[in-house]
Subunit: 398 residues, 2 copies
């Protein structure tokens, strides 16, 4: 995308400051920048290679129900709100950008191979029901009626009609285009945060140029903890959670190989297959705590292919188009970190872990409200960075 | 490589003819072109994308003994002669090009996992011994003493000290450079053979330009059967044999993960692991009769990774750098087709199947002798295209 001139008409390389400088050009960064610009703020996004991080290799599942983990009920509420609003969000991004985002109301089918898997599905359904969520147990025959190419080893499933998908790469491109149209500048450089008198006052670009900012927003995903210049007390407790993912192509005679997202747990490892309308099939993902490592390994690819085949034998016939690895931003409770830090003028929007695509819209709106002076919306209250702050000692140790 | 001017000093695009025009810029084509130029012939190689076919994705095994198949004794003699001369060939290519070819006298270890595999190795050794070839049976312990990272499932092996390797990509680049230095022109276009009065007289390039040739040599590998303008009676009976192959990278702490080529038969499928000195590990290869199909499939990659891991569990830790598929030129008896055709002025050098790297040197010399008027060397007599010619009917059917 060509960077459009900012609304002030000043060329990008002449501007000395913005209301908001965003560090990180993934879906969260572009969504926040777009929404902030819509509120009339002048905004720049700094990223030496925007749109090439975790957002680029995500699968685009919008799956609050099938991604539900026990103990994450606060996150569930946020995820459900995001899912309910996704159709409107997608439509708004498409209208603002003129680009499609591939939002697909396809539902998700979670599969079981053995009795242990069926027990896991039953527990998942119990949890879902206790929270008022909708899902349907299916027999093996019913699963294959929905998806005729499933393995004959499949013994049952759980259909979640409301867990959909978006095309992560198209969403990324559209958000970036919408932001550009709204006047957001791209500064394609690495940047360090600048502080003065204990508050964030802007950034210094890798080339040495200083850009002032009324507020600085960190949206650098798993790299947010490593941005230079961030005071220790404001540094987000995010860790890289490596994910490897494959992109397959379904030859025309086999289309559609699947009509909805299919997922399962094979030998203890979760695998999902997300079919795009254009014949792409995304297979993900490993989840590895190995530090900042973005290498594709023979073992990671092998396990994804093995487990995907166990659910859908026709995988062997598909073209392997791409292998990739990136790091998700994981937080201590797997929920995002959105809001002000202890450093005035420095805000966070990171830690979205497996839910970056799903939460891009609501995060952008919430952060823009905060940047615009309206405060963080109530439903983001459980996700402020303050929840991980070590309390000050109350007194001398006894 | 920049195309050097031909020795006549005439710019390439001005020349109307050559003594020899070679169709196909793989190792066979460049080797033949180089050797022909050394004999004083003017030579051009036509290829729209030279060096991107089967030669590019080969593993570079030089393995007459471990690649021996029953019934292929004629081919064995040729392969053994090529292997004996390889060190001198490699040295000559390196001197002529100024480039290394990665010839590595590392030997090959063929492994057995189960009793069936051990029986196969015993039969292979019997066949080898009956032909006077050298190999040594090793216990599992002896195998792991040579290669400490082998699977504990390995139960024995066969060490062939004389089966080495070359770096196929470096050989390809060096042959091309040597040919360029010797005055060979590259015409980077698809070409059709032109005939007049029943003899080959040159080629017509895709752009329409006609280039005359005293002799035309087809070295287009699996595509040799599909070159336009070749009279039916001279069309080589080669078929595409698809091979998928992986390139892995060994991280520094695991090097060397192997010291020699390792191969085995896992669940009936042959797999080999060829370690380069620079930390690359080539894993090959599938063998698929599917017509001209060069797509990398999920199934092909899966099987190679599965079988490679069965021999060397550390494979899971290696970086997957490249996946590729190309078609080998298979002939009805798996041996090459080298020599004159029924069409005067039209020669063949194709059908090298699994042995293109091994036979590149001897094929280049033999073809150059034929092109230069000395006739095809005696050891190539069993491999002339004439062996597949349908005999003329001797009389009317009774």
């Amino acid at each position: 995308m060509a960077v459009e001139p900012s609304r002030t008409g000043q060329p990008t390389d002449q501007r000395t400051g913005y209301d908001v400088v965003v560090l990180g050009g993934g879906v969260i960064g572009w969504s926040c920048a777009w929404r902030a610009a819509q509120r009339g703020l002048s905004v720049a996004v700094c990223d030496p290679s925007p749109g090439t991080g975790a957002s680029h290799v995500a699968a685009g599942m919008l799956a609050p129900v099938t991604e539900l983990h026990p103990g994450e009920e606060d996150l569930l509420r946020l995820n459900l709100a995001a899912a309910r609003g996704y159709e409107a969000f997608a439509a708004e991004v498409e209208a603002a950008s003129g680009l499609g985002v591939g939002y697909r109301r396809c539902g998700t089918l979670a599969l079981a191979l053995d009795a242990g898997d069926r027990a896991v599905l039953a527990e998942a359904q119990d949890l879902q029901r206790s929270l008022g969520l909708d899902s349907h147990r299916l027999t093996a025959r019913e699963c294959r009626r929905l998806e005729p190419m499933l393995s004959t080893e499949v013994t049952g499933g759980l259909l979640v009609e409301g867990d959909h998908q978006v095309d992560n790469r198209r969403l990324l491109a559209a958000l970036r285009a919408a932001a550009g149209r709204a006047g957001v500048d791209l500064l394609p450089e690495r940047a360090a945060v600048r502080t003065a008198d204990g508050r964030a006052v802007g950034v210094e670009l890798a080339g040495g140029r200083r850009v002032d900012a009324g507020q600085v927003l960190l949206t650098a995903g798993a790299a947010a903890a490593d941005v230079a210049g961030v005071p220790e007390a404001a540094r987000p407790p995010v860790r890289p959670v490596k994910g490897q993912i494959l992109r397959l192509r379904v030859p025309a005679p086999l289309r559609p190989v699947l009509s909805r997202t299919v997922r399962g747990v094979v030998r203890g490892a979760a695998v999902y297959l997300v079919p795009r309308e254009d014949g792409e099939l995304v297979v993900g993902a490993t989840s590895e705590d190995r530090g900042f490592d973005e290498t594709v390994t023979a073992g990671g690819v092998y396990e994804l292919l093995r487990d995907a085949q166990a659910l859908l034998p026709a995988v062997t016939e598909l073209e392997l188009v791409e292998t990739a690895a990136r790091c998700r931003p994981g937080s201590p409770d797997n929920a995002p970190l959105v809001g002000a830090t202890v450093v005035p003028g420095l805000l966070l929007a990171t830690g979205h872990h497996r839910n970056g695509m799903l939460l891009a819209g609501v995060t952008g709106e919430a952060v823009a409200a905060l940047l615009g002076g309206d405060g963080l919306p109530e439903h983001f209250a459980p996700f402020t960075p303050g929840r991980f702050r070590t309390p000050e000692p109350a007194g001398a140790p006894r």
